[in-house]
Symmetry: C2
Subunit: 288 residues, 2 copies
């Protein structure tokens, strides 16, 4: 399965590079877009698109425009989250963030352009029109006020306050889960999958997303995100509520295990869910 | 024709209010979105969508989701352009800009959310999937690096320098013309119009857009934009190159007249181009 993951990633990397190159406009703006988009990373979201397409009986390549769109959307949200007026981060994946490297207005515009380019690469692709429209509709919903933007809004609004479990879950359902869930559903939509598969993708993505976030909080605390350029325990130092501060490490591990088991059960509803089961375990056990 | 314009505008206003209300997410974020979206304005772009749909033989109402999408996209770009790291404007249409009213991070997020919501309102509408996909594809192209973002990039990069005619045209083709042109083409796409109508919409939108921008530069200089909250002659005071500084008022007027005549000729290629002809004149003669 590791080999399949690598092949999917390679497919995505190549398609992303092509997408930015051919997106038109000033070369300087494309450079800003490429700097963050081609900075590596696990590419979990686009791999989920390809593999949910395969799990639903489609060819992964058929979902490649949707996979690129999801990763471009994700990258734009990271660039904007890092800006001084938002989280004010200077490092991401061990490199200077976009506004540190290019200045604030270029980072802002590069993010804006990536959001538009995400829809462009999908909607101007050779996927059948109905599937293009279905995938883009899912992406738009996950990106907007009921998804990523809403989650980030609640996160910043709650800064410096103690949050309840419900509030913390609302934040991460928007910031993290919405796009992971959309990625899974877009894979099924790209395959022309049925309602049963769509429901399975939704439940799989939701459980996987929350497990991913809780594991993220644990890794952050354990200092294993140093390679990502984030100071050890920075969230705790800021007095920020995380799943770890709410539950402690043992209860967090139990939650990750439970959610991973849920995700794997949902993967079983697909004609070919083996990779999705493997991926759920891999993410739950990851060390970075 | 003035009555038809008013009816179109009223349709759009009502649909925009509904779109924000039902966009989900935190109420505070929807408030930020609505503040800028419902601040009035001429609504030229959405009216162009409705009227190009009608000109191509469709019902204007059928294009309403596309019309809303264009205006939401336009509004997001204004919010971001006004931010301190971009044009740093404190007033728009006589009211405090979004970041002055809500603070910088809420303005940034409100803009981001409006871009996503623009695609959402269109892609999750009840328009036929192929037409939804076609409209959204046009919108994405106009919004991205080859359109609005590219134009704004060139504009900020060129700040403080003397620009050539070609450079100035490149800026405005991205910043202004791309979305006006897309609005016209989206109207035709919403009507299921043919290639001939699509070409006419493109040429009409392009000529109208450039005439609109040149007239804008003239009005700015003449101080007639006070009502828009922009200081009189602010562009000239900053030493900024505009069509007026390049050509002077007489040559500008000639260009507006020529471009308006071109737009009107293109309107004649539609089954029903009367309103589009009238609108081209109205914009050319506008005093604010």
């Amino acid at each position: 399965m590791e080999g399949r993951y690598s092949r999917d990633k390679a497919l995505v990397e190549e398609a992303l590079a092509r997408a930015v190159e051919s997106s038109g406009g000033p070369a300087g703006l494309r450079e800003v877009m490429a700097y963050s988009l081609m900075a590596g990373g696990k590419r979990i979201r686009p791999v989920l698109v390809l593999e949910c397409c395969r799990a639903a009986g489609g060819e992964p390549e058929a979902a490649l425009p949707a996979a690129c769109a999801v990763e471009m959307l994700h990258t734009y949200s990271l660039i904007h989250d890092d800006l001084p007026c938002m989280d004010d981060d200077e490092l991401r994946r061990g490199r200077p963030t976009s506004h540190v490297r290019f200045g604030e207005w270029k980072a802002l515009l590069g993010g804006d352009a990536l959001q538009a380019a995400a829809f462009d690469v999908l909607l101007n692709s050779d996927m059948p029109p109905e599937r293009r429209a279905a995938c883009a509709a899912l992406l738009a919903r996950a990106a907007g006020p009921a998804g990523i933007c809403g989650g980030q809004y609640l996160d910043l609004e709650g800064e410096g306050r103690d949050l309840t479990r419900t509030q913390l879950e609302d934040i991460h359902r928007g910031k993290t889960c919405a796009l992971l869930e959309a990625a899974c559903r877009m894979g099924v939509a790209a395959a022309g999958g049925d309602g049963e598969q769509m429901a399975a993708a939704e439940a799989y993505g939701r459980a996987l997303g929350m497990a991913f976030q809780i594991r993220d909080d644990m890794l952050d605390e354990l200092g294993d995100q140093r390679a990502l350029g984030k100071p050890v325990g920075s969230d705790r130092a800021e007095g920020k509520t995380t799943f770890l501060t709410l539950y402690g490490p043992e209860r967090c591990q139990t939650l990750v295990d439970e959610l991973t088991a849920q995700a794997k059960a949902q993967a079983g509803r697909f004609p070919d869910g083996a990779f999705l089961r493997w991926l759920a375990d891999r993410l739950a056990l990851r060390e970075s």
